[in-house]
């Protein structure tokens, strides 16, 4: 085995009563790509934050390049050649690329000299690693993939030999993710060490040399990637066998519940995002909409659920039209049996500052079940919340806890529980498992299929192709605001991928 770039020995870290890291031992070989997987809250990010000097370990030893290292601040980590690309980018949005790169590493008290020096250094890095980016562009005007590239350049500019990436593909399109992987391989070829934190097992299999699995604050295993399987890793992560593809019977499709005809929707800038789309969903089936993010799926969801106006077209719910001019409010649609799990749970689905029990009835709070005269019936709401917590295995099971303190997967379960328990006829779900870990994905998928088997019409929009293929009875592919093809669940990934890229548009449009 090559020489170790980093050794962590007996690392412990607690936040109050929570033991985020327990007695962690880890060795990362120089010049490799090392994956760290684990569910949300398994302690991956805490461990890496300790390595980057953001937090300090309660006990344990860190060795960098074989020498014991004391990392008290991010500055110490940078000086030891450790760079980090955070999940939420640490960039100043209204600064230029160059300004962001030099921030904290300015070579001179005056900016002019620092920027001139950085510019030539940046050109060298761009040549060496193929990381092209306009140095004078403003960060907020760059696509997410390029912003991430700036983060990588920032670390390299500081002389990073060891690069830690925290959930780097969460915000990327599949094409951007592929590009990122090419960059990471190139970094490895140049002798850099890459640590990749993720909960997406496919990525681990695709790119890493070694992989370590964390569960509930402990390091449970380290494997050579070529000698393990996705199934084994998932089992190690969750601590039990996980079904990566939920089993389901044949759909027994009934009457049409939701019929969309010639729907056209524009976004706030006036650009046509949904272009003359027609499809319908029958009772007892799951229809999946696949597509690269930004091809009109969000606008389609918003129009159907009454959040956004449509320009033209019609949507029929149980044979009766939905007013698309903005007069139908989401509340009215809820009353008519259309439940909506929005794509963006933080901004649309939940009020993060509310307690769990409040979010568990949000939107249904004027239902007589939750009222006592003009007042909220707190006892009924709490009982209802506890019921949902049990049914959906929401953890921690405390309905008085602030929603922001739940993990992503549990927040999503709160929203799903709220919408599914209303027993709607039609359920619309955007990105059902975005930012959700393996164990919870399995649970959510099972629930969605259970809804289908109860005879509900379910629409699932997701950028995860695996998810679409595993759930759907029919798959619609959206590209540039249009449905460019319909396939059955047996469609291959390659076939769908081509449709998503708009390649077969002519033949598929029919």
């Amino acid at each position: 085995m090559a020489q170790a770039a980093i050794e962590l020995i007996g690392i412990n870290k607690s936040f109050g009563a929570v033991r985020a890291n327990r007695d962690i031992n880890l060795e990362i070989a120089r010049g490799t790509i090392h994956g760290i997987v684990g569910e949300n809250g398994a302690g991956k990010s805490t461990l890496m934050s300790i390595l980057y000097g953001f937090y300090q370990a309660d006990s344990g030893e860190i060795r960098v390049g074989g020498k014991p290292a004391s990392i008290k601040t991010s500055n110490d980590a940078i000086a030891l050649g450790i760079g980090m690309v955070h999940q939420h980018f640490m960039l100043v949005d209204n600064f230029t690329v160059l300004e962001n790169i030099i921030l904290g590493a300015e070579s001179d008290a005056l900016l002019k000299k620092s920027i001139a020096k950085a510019r030539s250094e940046l050109e060298r890095l761009e040549r060496e690693y193929g990381l092209e980016v306009d140095p004078d562009a403003i960060i907020e005007e760059l696509p997410v993939g390029l912003q991430q590239r700036v983060e990588i350049l920032k670390a390299l500019y500081r002389g990073a030999e060891i690069l830690i990436l925290d959930e780097p593909t969460g915000v990327l399109t599949p094409a951007e993710a592929d590009h990122l992987f090419r960059i990471l391989r190139q970094l490895k070829d140049q002798g850099k060490t890459v640590v990749l934190i993720t909960h997406k097992l496919r990525e681990i299999m695709a790119i890493t040399d070694n992989v370590s699995v964390m569960r509930q604050g402990t390091m449970v295993a380290t494997r050579e990637t070529s000698k393990t399987t996705v199934g084994e890793l998932a089992e190690l992560m969750v601590g039990r066998r996980v079904l990566l593809r939920v089993e389901k019977g044949e759909a027994e499709a009934g009457a049409v519940k939701l019929a969309v005809k010639n729907l056209t929707v524009k976004d706030s800038r006036g650009v046509t995002m949904v272009d003359d789309i027609s499809f319908d969903i029958k009772a007892g089936e799951i229809v999946g909409i696949a597509g690269v993010a930004g091809n009109g799926q969000s606008e389609l969801l918003e129009a159907i659920s009454g959040i956004r106006h449509a320009v033209s077209g019609s949507v029929m719910l149980d044979g009766k039209p939905i007013d698309l001019t903005g007069k139908a409010d989401p509340g009215e649609l809820r009353d008519r049996g259309l439940a909506h799990v929005p794509e963006d749970r933080h901004h649309v689905g939940l009020v993060l500052a509310f307690e769990e029990n409040e979010n568990s009835i949000l939107g249904y709070h004027d239902d007589p079940r939750y009222l006592k005269g003009p007042f909220l019936n707190i006892d009924a709401i709490m009982a209802d919340a506890k019921d949902k917590i049990e049914k959906y295995d929401i953890r921690p099971g405390n309905p008085r806890l602030k929603t922001a303190n739940f993990s992503g997967g549990n927040q999503q379960k709160i929203v799903l529980a709220r919408e599914m328990e209303q027993d709607p006829g039609v359920l619309i779900v955007g990105q059902p498992t975005r930012g959700v870990d393996v164990g919870a994905i399995e649970f959510i998928h099972k629930r969605l299929i259970a809804m289908r088997d109860q005879g509900k019409a379910v629409l699932v929009v997701s950028v995860e192709l695996d998810e679409i293929r595993s759930l759907s009875d029919r798959i619609l592919v959206m590209f540039a605001g249009r449905i460019v093809g319909e396939r059955g669940p047996e469609a291959t990934e390659g076939e769908l991928g081509l449709l998503m890229a708009g390649v077969e548009r002519q033949e598929a449009a029919e």
Binding site: T73, H88, A105, S114
Partner: protein, 323 residues
């Protein structure tokens, strides 16, 4: 020619009246650009005015007065920092508290030390900043147009006036041309980016507040040692708040801040000048209306005429490392 002289005179008092606004506005710019809202500009100015006048009259030195004004104002700024940076308190509450403490303590200490109803003794020559006559001002006084502009408008102000206007390009240079300025702007937009770059967020914000304290100290000294011959209770009379309004109006940019403060100063000067004199078409207007005019215009300007003013994104939020 009378009209011309009248205009020059109004502009001259515009400059005098906008100086405290400008200093306070730039003071606010440093702290708000660093992400710390400072509603306590008013209080710090008041403390500066009192400390300056008191020290000047006791030690018989204008410069000692100015020094004391700055020291005390910075001390109050550090209190604001201690509450809102170190202890992550609410910045508005801390700022309001500073205003109350300043208003009360200046009166109490003034009365205890000088027994003149909260005033400080009238400052004698040498204890206040005198007007500076620029070279050649007397010589070209009688040259038409240029003469009055040079000798009335540009010459004959105290050193603090020139200092205030010099602070405008200086602040711009600090903010946009130095490492300190880059970091200061960054910490007001995304403190986490600064933290992960290995720079202390707290120390950076404290330094910004020290800049704020220095400038509000000078602003206070100007009020009690230049504009007035001593400290009078509550002599800031809301200028700290007008300065904050000007800061928003200026979209947190130094040169814009100068023009905003000149505009507010001009409205003030015009109101004073036009008091009691009949206006064409309208006739005689009550004094109170003219006095209220700058404030009314402030509301109108802030409500509709500046477009979208985007404050520094991390403004008002104490920085806590995320878990």
């Amino acid at each position: 020619m009378d009209v011309f002289i009248a205009i020059v005179q109004i502009l001259d008092s515009t400059i005098r009246l906008s100086v405290p606004l400008l200093l306070a506005c730039l003071a606010g710019l440093y702290s708000e650009r660093a992400g710390v809202f400072d509603i306590g500009l008013e209080g710090k100015m008041l403390v500066g005015a009192f400390a300056g006048a008191a020290a000047a009259s006791v030690f018989h030195s204008a410069f000692l007065g100015l020094g004391m004004a700055i020291v005390m104002s910075v001390a109050f700024a550090l209190v604001h920092g201690f509450a809102s940076i170190t202890h992550r308190g609410n910045q508005i509450v801390s700022g309001v508290a500073i205003n109350f403490v300043a208003a009360g303590s200046t009166i109490i200490l003034g009365q205890a030390w000088f027994q003149q109803g909260g005033r400080t003794p009238a400052l004698q020559p040498g204890e206040r900043f005198e007007a500076i006559t620029l070279p050649g001002a007397a010589a070209i006084h009688d040259v038409p147009i240029i003469g009055p502009i040079y000798s009335e408008l540009l010459s004959g102000h105290s050193i603090l006036v020139y200092l205030a206007f010099a602070m405008v390009p200086f602040t711009w240079w600090v903010l946009f041309r130095t490492r300190f300025g880059l970091r200061l702007r960054a910490v007001g937009e995304n403190p986490a980016a600064v933290d992960t770059a290995g720079i202390s967020v707290a120390w950076l914000r404290y330094r910004a507040l020290i800049c704020t304290g220095v400038l509000t100290g000078i602003a206070g000294a100007y009020l009690s040692m230049v504009q007035n011959g001593g400290f009078v209770k509550d002599m800031t009379a809301g200028k700290g708040y007008i300065a904050l309004a000007a800061l928003i109006f200026a979209k947190w940019r130094p040169v814009n801040a100068m023009f905003a403060c000149l505009l507010f100063g001009f409205l003030d000067a015009a109101a004073i000048r036009l008091q009691g004199s009949p206006l064409p078409l309208i006739g005689k207007v009550p004094v109170q209306f003219m006095q209220a005019l700058p404030y009314v215009l402030t509301v109108i300007l802030l409500a509709g005429f500046i477009g979208k003013a985007i404050p520094p994104r991390a403004g008002g939020v104490p920085y806590v490392k995320e878990r």
